[in-house]
Amino acid sequence: MAIPQAELRRLAIAKHVIFVLVAAAVIVPFVAKVYQRDFKPTSYAEDLFQKVHNLDANTRVLISLDFDPGSEAELLPMGVAILRHCFQQRLIPVVMTNYPSGVDLARTIVEEAVAKSEVDYGRKLTSGRDYAYLGFRPGGVNLVLNMGENLKGAFQTDYYGKPTEDMPALVGVQSLKDLKLVIDITSSAWVELWIVYGADRFGFEYGAGVTAVMGPDMYPFLQSGQVIGLLDGLRGAADYELLLQRTEVGKLDKTGRGILGMTAQSAAHVLVIVLVLAANARFIFRRATGREKG
């Protein structure tokens, strides 16, 4: 059954009307400045937050930012929030990436978190002492295996070309075995590679921040304890920002990209749900009255 040209044109118009509706649903909340700042963070985000919160000062936390700008919107707020939390707790974040196309994105994230934290916590943060940004090295899983034997051998210099061997931020970190917590923020299979080639072998605890596309795939690992906490999409970022803001009410700025985005997200979801329900109600009705075949 071919669809007549008139029907096709009608569908094309419907398509462009929907495009306009989506744009409106996403733009209006920002223009109207309607922000819902109060909601209950998901339990898995809270697990990760508490894990970071309860580490002793000066603990080294490895944060791998394995994504490129294509997932920036979801994952960048997570990276910034977690790094700010590390600085708040006086932990020493060690940041790296497995994406050659994400090297400068990760740098942006680190520098943004550093700039904000210097204002929030009133101390100067120095690269190589209070944090380290290692950049990218090729090798994929072999890089992780290599880091499990000799981290400073895998990254002989950091992103800024400084040797890692004597770097104060890396004192006591010879290999992945010396780490308590590793967090991977990613849009790809790296989240599982870090479990398989990292956490399960070298014995650190492992938290993840992933795009919402991958979120549901993480549940087997959450239940088995291979992942101790999860940030799932922009909502996960918003949860973490909210938890972080609650620790110092009124002190931190309230411009977390995750929280601000939640209202637009709500509006757009409601729109999509209405579209699905309306179209299917029509479909079921037409099928019941015999006007359309199943």
Partner: protein, 509 residues
Amino acid sequence: MIAHGAITSGLLAALAFLAPPTAAAPASRPATAPTTSTAPAPLPLLDPNRFAAYDRPSDDGSAVIVEWAKPLHEPEGISYVVEIAPSPDAFGTDRAKTVPVRPALKATNPKFFSALSASNRELYYAAVTPAAVFPPPAPGKFTAERIDKLLAARRLNAKQAARAKELLASKKPEAELSSREKRQRRWLGRLQAYISKSDARTLKARQREINGRTYYFRLAVTDGGRKAYVARGGTPVTVSAGGRANWIKHFRWNNLVFALTFSAVVMAFIHIARRNPNLFIRKIAGLEAVDEAIGRATEMGRPVFFVHGLGSMQELATIAAVNVLARVARRAADYDTRVRVMNYEPIVTAVSQEVVQQAYTEAGRPDAFDPDDVSLVATTQFSYVAAVSGRMIREQPAAVFMVGRFFAESLLLAETGASTGAIQVAGTDSYTQLPFFITTCDYTLIGEELYAASAYLSREPRMLGSLRGQDVGKAFLMIVIVVGALLLTLAGFFDVDLTLFRDLFKPLS
């Protein structure tokens, strides 16, 4: 000599008289000051026959295990200390070290000890790393003196040493440096990094060497003040052991057994499939949809589209897609229906051309094949979408097959296909894209179903055999999950300890 022996035996007798010396000495202390507190409970006596030291099994030689029997009565507030000496006569001198240890029952650590043995439930153990107790000297800081030493060891030449010293002394701020000085500073940085790296390596080697020596151990129980050695006849018992690097991780036996058994099963089935390509495999319902869709296209006199997705020829899904294409092309050739194949990858294009041509030849109509029907339509993801969608709208195919590896483009392709009213059949192992295919297509081959369909069609032994082998693995997993969950549930109600059963499947690393 005799006199000497006499003195020794005399001393021993005297000691025996005072016995037990270690326990007696602290015990007498409260007696001298009875007013300050009531007499505390005596320290437990540890069985000297069950005190031992040995190399930790299944490890890299970095630890020695000290084990002893847990005393039947273990008063509050007591702790254990291990004394380690490089030789038996070093105890009591400053060459021996005392290390407080926190013991655990051997049965609680399935990684190194078996939970099967009953004795492990009453034996304490503590792991001691000798290199942590007797640390090797730390390599010196990078100072002028160190540079001299490096020069003496000929690891630097005179010129380098002089330059390094000069640079080390220079306090000029970074901003004022000339580019030559900056370069020199970077050289110094590299030198320092190189030296510390080789220092770290030397340190590691020394630690390994220290761990490998033989040491002598004594164990004492203490309550903070008093100290009672594990003793036999009044003399503290000394045991000895050294760390050895082992060759097998015994605790990974379950992994090894599973990996080897499963491998054997898969290889066996591949072997069987080579001899008997008619190995049974259940018919995949989606394959009937293929014939139905082509039949409909013939009725309507419109083309069939085969969309490959973005996969490369190395991927299983693409290989499977080519097998499905062979079937589609064959049927289409039989019915004289046109097949248009949309490619993204040059190599996949070449393979697809071959497959379609072959199908036409087999159908006895080699001249009907038009190579332009199998073409590379675009080279970026979204231009592929635009090109394929454009053709769909213009040519209004009666059936669209989307088989292979798909990414974000799946939604747009499937939507356009649905809007033209074509019958759509999809098959992919890209699980994130499956939801879109399921809601927009008439039939979808989900994940491994695609491989099974491909094996069913091609009868290729390696696919067929390994599919059957995997089925054996799946059957095993299903049985273990069901039986295991039931057993453990029942065991919980009847209070039976099934830790052993759980340990069978516990992965340790």
